[in-house]
Symmetry: C2
């Protein structure tokens, strides 16, 4: 087993795509030894730039992601794409037309695409995304793009693992602006109005600008707002240049990085603690006893947990 992990890690050092694919699968499945493997991969990381791409379903995120990837490839970068959007064509979740359009970039050697199953990974999806980013980084990808559908809290957490986040809007989304206000604003480093060839793009831009100028949360740089049409390949070079531009406020970047590390440590710790306590309580039968007590209405979940934790401490 150990041997096999080593072989895969050696494989990514040698830029073997199949080794990377297999490694990602095994890490995602949390196979025995995954944490040790990630510890070995960690020193190989830290070179890639990670961009998050989020927005409502239907905003054209996948097409935009493809176009950004192609532009980056043209500029000589190698790219990894992670799609954690269940409706993404990358994940096989979208209409046939989208999927066909996407396939062009599957054949570009510099671009490696991986979709992540969102099911069965409750809570762990964000950490799994971090791990996949690291594997691609260790492999030597220069830029990693993470596409998520920006609705759930989970998706917002995922996109926060990126260095820079672009929020994709479209003309005519009166609704969307509200959604942005509600949750996405503090994570956006850049706004993109996609499908800007359709009527209403300037109005959305004005709305976003107004929102940004009203916001008291923003310190320093105001996020740029760009218009694109991924389908018509308009505005992509400008967007990519904006993405690649180094943020001027390095202190702010450092603080963001510290927060990211702290959140990762806590989330890894949470899952590990939970796994340990759960298996202890399942093995000694106390979990099943508790369920029976609640079923018989002789206790309730709140009391049960209080008692279980007290017993655990006194052991």
């Amino acid at each position: 087993m150990k041997n096999s992990w080593d072989k895969l890690i050696q494989g990514i050092r040698e830029k073997d795509i199949r080794a990377m694919a297999r490694l990602i699968t095994r890490i995602e499945n949390r196979e025995d030894g995954w944490k040790t493997a990630m510890t070995e991969i960690y020193p190989l990381t830290g070179k890639a730039r990670v961009f998050g791409i989020t927005g409502s379903p239907g905003a054209g995120k996948s097409t935009l992601t493809s176009e950004i990837a192609k532009e980056l490839a043209d500029r000589g970068y190698t790219i990894g794409i992670i799609a954690v959007d269940p409706s993404s064509p990358f994940s096989g979740g979208a209409l046939l037309g989208d999927r066909l359009r996407m396939q062009q970039i599957f054949t570009v050697k510099e671009i490696y695409i991986r979709s992540m199953a969102t099911r069965g990974m409750l809570g762990g999806l964000c950490q799994a995304a971090r791990d996949v980013i690291r594997i691609m980084d260790a492999f030597g990808k220069d830029v990693i793009l993470i596409e998520t559908v920006g609705v759930g809290q989970d998706e917002i957490e995922i996109v926060k693992t990126a260095d820079r986040v672009m929020v994709v809007c479209i003309p005519g989304m009166g609704d969307g602006i509200q959604a942005i206000k509600a949750g996405v604003m503090e994570i956006a480093d850049l706004y993109v109005i996609n499908k800007a060839d359709k009527p209403g793009a300037d109005e959305v831009e004005a709305d976003i600008q107004a929102m940004l100028s009203l916001s008291s949360d923003l310190e320093g740089e105001v996020p740029p707002v760009l218009q694109t049409s991924a389908l018509k390949k308009q505005g992509i070079p400008e967007l990519v240049s904006a993405l690649l531009k180094n943020p001027s406020d390095t202190q702010k970047q450092k603080v963001k990085e510290e927060i990211r590390i702290k959140e990762e440590i806590l989330s890894l710790m949470e899952r590990e603690v939970f796994r340990q306590v759960r298996s202890a309580w399942e093995n000694d039968g106390s979990l099943q006893d508790s369920v029976s007590q609640v079923m018989q209405k002789t206790s309730d979940p709140y009391t049960i947990v209080k008692q279980m934790l007290l017993n655990h401490k006194h052991r």
Copy 2:
């Protein structure tokens, strides 16, 4: 403080709506003593029937929820509605037209509506929804409807806390059927094709029926598929009758209930253990030290967590 909790709990015994509203807010905010309060509320619960309503954005879930609530009120039931859909008009997230339409039911005395913030409750949203259901149940609501947007894993978890779950589809959603296949199928007790006055309703019904007949996962009862038009108020009585019909397989219901209790105990426990460990590590500075180590690349998050847990055990 204790006194004030008691007063609120007494308030819900006396069917004081404002006491219920205040109690929900304090429980949601996890104010000191919330678990004791919930322990006192628990014996008052167990009478309400809880129905989950989920489906893609734009499926008309909120309008459908309103119509179901009105039909139930007409039949003499009292109703609680919980909207955990950030785009729901109940949460203030939708278009003005929807919101105005919704307001009709705000004035029906038997119907109490509560929207839940999805932000800042990562992981805890599902437990908070369980708690709000219990408070409404203890208050004496006969039926509780939970509306969630069925995209994220979080939302699926929430809807699983319901006794019965209806999945709302609409005509012309080739995409939607795929989404159903991917995640929702095992939780659906009932399928509703809303907006059935639009072309394509029969095709979607045929698709769902075909999917159901192919599924090997389904034991016993096959979930019924109903057509409605919430906007035109068609098919609502039939839907409500189907919802209220007692499931014939009581053994299956018991198993589902056991799973629900087990999941709740584990999730309460997880959060509590995490809270304790986190605060211990924050207080003694070891969390901050760890972040610094990772920042300086002298360690990595995986190794840090392993070491921290070992230290914790040996204390």
